[in-house]
Symmetry: C2
Subunit: 332 residues, 2 copies
């Protein structure tokens, strides 16, 4: 509709910042064509997920461009690995206000490039437009999974054991720090929690290895309790979550102490991007061996049980129900 | 970052408006999982394109939600068909301000549904977030093309003939009407031009049939002259465009009359979403037969010639250079 000239036009920005990011993915055709073209190897299927992020809603406008880039890609990669997929590529659309200059774009592109190398993915295509609103970013990410073997949310069976990767609650506590609702003298702990908020660590090595072991899986984005509820709802069962078993980082453990409100926050706060999955108990030794070989902690945290589908009982170490203020965030 | 409650939360909106749109595409898994999963048939490749649209930049905020939905999908489908691909599916992310209510969403979803049926595509997945800025929509669309046969922009050869589908310039003149810079007493002509602006007609039946006939192809979005420039630049040659041959609708012809400024606008205005392609002259009879069988007009409009790559000479009917005010829009 408008033809207002920005400091650099669309074509120049694409050439300077995005074409280099597409260079490693031949299917992108160097961003020189109307679309990307790539094959899916025989015996594999494509896994496709999409996420959008808006400044002031999903990240702070003054977060570093590198952190924003990392979070944007990693939340999508987390969805892929929760399906058991190996990441392959992504498309990116950016709607940027005029005051986003070349320094921001350059740092943002550098962040994308770092994560492309880290996770072995390529930029397949995209679009770059202007907006009078906040920075708005959208990624569609692609991965490959052996045909028919994608891990569903709905594969859980009553009697299956529940497991999570890594630690839970760091990002929720980090968000409290970012909002100045929590002060922490321990600088290292503070940095750890903030970093887990800003740079989630999607378990891309773990997801594909869960095929054949896990019955149902998803990634923890809305909060452990809420996402466990999703797994249960889709699997047609209920769950018991042993809150005392939920793995916490030293930093989180220090903050939580014996404050039940803070524990509840950790269990419901979201943005963890860890994997939550169900598996028959007999798979436990294989899962522990896998955790060891990958260097990714896996912890048993409860059981799927018969009950109203979607119901989660969170129990404390004495087996008493834990008071949760909410199930999780609605990231709307 | 925020957990502000909208009239309907993300989950409810997805259930009400988007899950029904995904029902026809099994790979979407009913939007019940972390991601979509689908196969690519043996012998085919996936074609992937992404476009973003922002209210006030790419469409008028008060455009009908159905028109916005149609334009969003169709501009992406136009990219797919320019590659020779058959449309398959799309992902959609929406960032919507709070004042976008259920009536808007319902009409928007209905528009998507109509076009899904028209173009035989399914919703594979997406994300729905809130924004304090304008409506911001992003689509990544997928199509299938026989492996190795995608139509590139860069396949043009000196001596090839140039062709366009349909008519050129309607949308550019429609935009003048929408901006009240052009008044038109003929209501039918007015409606035609506005409709071509708001509801482009991507040539989805034509693109796949150009494989084996066309040497280079793209869709006309930035303007005929600018996009011909892109084809030439990527193909390493120049072009002669015979302006008098460029197909115009009756409505456009009536508006343009013998006003060279309006003719220039039609040739450079963009948003046509017609196909522009090069082919050896010997393919002309096959192309004319194809046009006849599909009911899609195809018109010869010029030639690729030796010259500085990307150079376009637009000539009038006497062979004199046409004055063009600009090459095309930078849709930034």
């Amino acid at each position: 509709m408008t033809n207002a000239s920005a400091p650099l036009g669309e074509f120049d920005r694409i050439t300077r910042y995005f074409k280099p990011l597409a260079a490693g993915f031949p299917g992108a055709r160097g961003l020189r064509d109307d679309a990307a073209v790539f094959g899916v190897p025989p015996g594999f299927e494509l896994v496709v997920t999409a996420d959008a992020m808006v400044a002031g809603v999903h990240f702070f406008p003054d977060d570093s461009p590198g952190d924003i880039a990392a979070k944007l890609l990693r939340t999508n990669l987390s969805d892929l690995t929760a399906m058991g997929a190996e990441p392959l590529a992504y498309t990116l659309t950016t709607a940027l206000p005029r005051d986003v200059g070349e320094a921001w774009l350059s740092a943002f592109a550098a962040g994308l490039g770092e994560d492309q190398a880290r996770f072995n993915i390529g930029l397949a295509g995209g679009d770059s437009v202007s907006t009078r609103g906040p920075i708005t970013l959208s990624v569609t990410a692609f991965g490959l999974v052996p045909a028919g073997r994608a891990l569903p949310r709905w594969g859980g069976v009553v009697g299956d054991r529940l497991f999570v990767s890594g630690c839970i609650g760091d990002a929720a506590l980090g968000l409290e720090i970012a909002y100045d609702r929590l002060t922490l003298d321990d600088a290292a702990a503070r940095e750890h929690l903030l970093r887990r908020l800003r740079r989630p660590d999607p378990r891309t090595t773990l997801g594909p290895r869960l095929i054949g072991l896990a019955s149902g899986a998803l990634d923890v984005s809305d909060g452990l309790v809420a996402d466990l509820g999703h797994l249960c709802e889709e699997s047609g069962c209920a769950a018991r979550l042993d809150a005392a078993s939920v793995p916490l980082s030293d930093a989180a453990r220090g903050v939580i102490g014996d404050d039940p409100t803070r524990l509840a926050l950790a269990l419901t706060g979201g943005d963890d991007y860890e994997l939550l999955f169900s598996a028959p108990d007999r798979a436990t030794p294989a899962l522990m061996a896998l955790a060891e070989s990958l260097g990714v902690p896996i912890t048993a945290v409860g059981w799927l049980e018969a009950g109203v589908p979607g119901t989660v009982r969170a129990l404390d170490q004495r087996g008493a129900p834990l008071a949760l203020l909410r199930r999780g965030w609605d990231h709307f």
